[in-house]
C-alpha cells in the first residue's frame, strides 16, 4: 500500500487515488502534421522506467486534483510530489525520509 502525500490534503492511503501514468507528455501541437509513427508514439508509447519515474496521480476521493509525483518503480519510494504543470523536480524534494 502506498502512502501518498497529496499536495492539498497531506498523506493519504493509495486507495483514495487513481493513477494517470507518465507525466509531462504534451498533446501534439499539430496532430495533423504527425507521421503515423509519431502519432503511434503519442498514443501508445510511454516510458516504462525502471527507477525514478515522473507520473501523474489524481486524489479522486479527496480533493479531486491531479498532481505529479516522482516515484522509484522498484522500491516504490516516493521521492517528490509537485504541482501539475510544474517542471519535473528531479529528486528535488524528498517528501519522506
Amino acid at each position: 500500500m502506498l502512502l501518498i502525500s497529496c499536495p492539498n490534503c497531506g498523506p493519504r492511503d493509495e486507495t483514495e487515488f487513481h493513477y494517470g501514468g507518465q507525466a509531462h507528455v504534451p498533446y501534439p501541437e499539430n496532430p495533423n502534421d504527425l507521421t503515423d509513427r509519431e502519432w503511434a508514439e503519442y498514443l501508445f508509447y510511454r516510458e516504462n522506467t525502471k527507477g525514478t519515474f515522473a507520473e501523474r496521480w489524481v486524489h479522486s476521493t479527496g480533493c479531486r486534483q491531479w498532481f505529479n509525483m516522482l516515484r522509484d518503480t522498484v522500491t516504490y519510494d516516493i521521492q517528490a510530489v509537485y504541482q501539475m504543470g510544474g517542471a519535473a523536480a528531479r529528486r528535488a524534494r524528498p517528501t519522506r525520509s
Binding site: 490534503c9 492511503d13 483514495e16
Partner: protein
C-alpha cells in the same frame, strides 16, 4: 423519523420524499448502544456544491452569503446555521437546514447563484446527492477506525474538521462535529451499504468488553 415534517414545495412531492436510509431507521435504533456508540440518519438538509476561486471577487461575494469559505483541507467555514466544507482548492459543499432550500421558502441557492453571477464557477443544488449519518459516543472513533485510514486520534483530528475520505471502501465526507461525534456524508446510493457497514462495525460494542 425526523424527516416527515410537513413541508410543502418541491411541486408538492415533499410529502412522499424518503431519506436514503429510512428503511434502516429501526436497525439503527436497535443497533445503537446507548452510552457507547449510537447511529442515526440525520434530517434532510439543503446541500449546494460550489466551485469558485475563493480569492476572486466572486469568491468574496459567495463567502458573504455563506459566512466565509474555508481556506484549506479540513477547514469548515460558515455560520451557526450553515456549514461550508472544503472539498478541494476551489470546491466547497454548503450544508444548511432543509428549510433553507428555495423550494421550501428559503433563498440559499438563489443567493449563491446571484453572488456568483457571470463569474467562472458553479452553484449546483446537491440536496438529494448525499444523506447524513450521525455517529457518536465514546466508541464512535473505534467504529470508524475499522474502515477509515485517516488518523482519527484526537491529537490529530480536532472537532470542527471535515475531510473527504473513504469509510468502508466508499467515498464519504467525514465531519468531526464534537469530541465524540462524527457526521458522515455518503452519497445516497451508498447509504444502504454504509449504514449496514456501520451497524456491523458497531456490533461488538453491544457485548461486554473482553478484558
Amino acid at each position: 423519523m425526523a424527516n416527515t415534517a410537513a413541508f410543502t414545495g418541491i411541486n408538492g412531492l415533499r410529502e412522499i420524499r424518503r431519506s436514503p436510509a429510512s428503511h434502516l431507521a429501526e436497525a439503527f435504533d436497535t443497533g445503537s448502544v446507548q452510552g457507547t456508540v449510537t447511529l442515526n440518519e440525520g434530517p434532510f438538509q439543503t446541500m449546494v456544491g460550489v466551485r469558485v476561486d475563493r480569492s476572486s471577487e466572486a469568491g468574496a461575494r459567495i463567502a458573504s452569503v455563506t459566512g466565509g469559505l474555508p481556506e484549506r483541507c479540513g477547514d469548515v467555514g460558515g455560520t451557526e446555521r450553515v456549514s461550508v466544507l472544503w472539498l478541494g482548492p476551489q470546491e466547497f459543499l454548503v450544508v444548511a437546514p432543509e428549510d433553507a432550500h428555495d423550494s421550501l421558502g428559503g433563498d440559499l441557492i438563489g443567493s449563491l447563484k446571484s453572488a456568483l453571477g457571470d463569474a467562472a464557477g458553479q452553484v449546483v443544488d446537491l440536496s438529494a446527492n448525499r444523506t447524513t449519518f450521525e455517529l457518536s459516543g465514546p466508541r464512535a472513533r473505534a467504529v470508524l477506525e475499522k474502515g477509515c485510514a485517516l488518523d482519527l486520534h484526537p491529537r490529530t483530528l480536532k472537532p470542527g474538521t471535515a475531510l473527504n475520505t473513504e469509510v468502508g471502501n466508499i467515498p464519504v465526507a467525514l465531519f468531526k462535529t464534537g469530541e465524540e461525534s462524527f457526521r458522515l456524508f455518503p452519497r445516497a446510493s451508498f447509504a444502504d451499504y454504509l449504514g449496514r457497514w456501520l451497524l456491523d462495525a458497531m456490533r461488538e460494542f453491544a457485548s461486554p468488553e473482553v478484558p
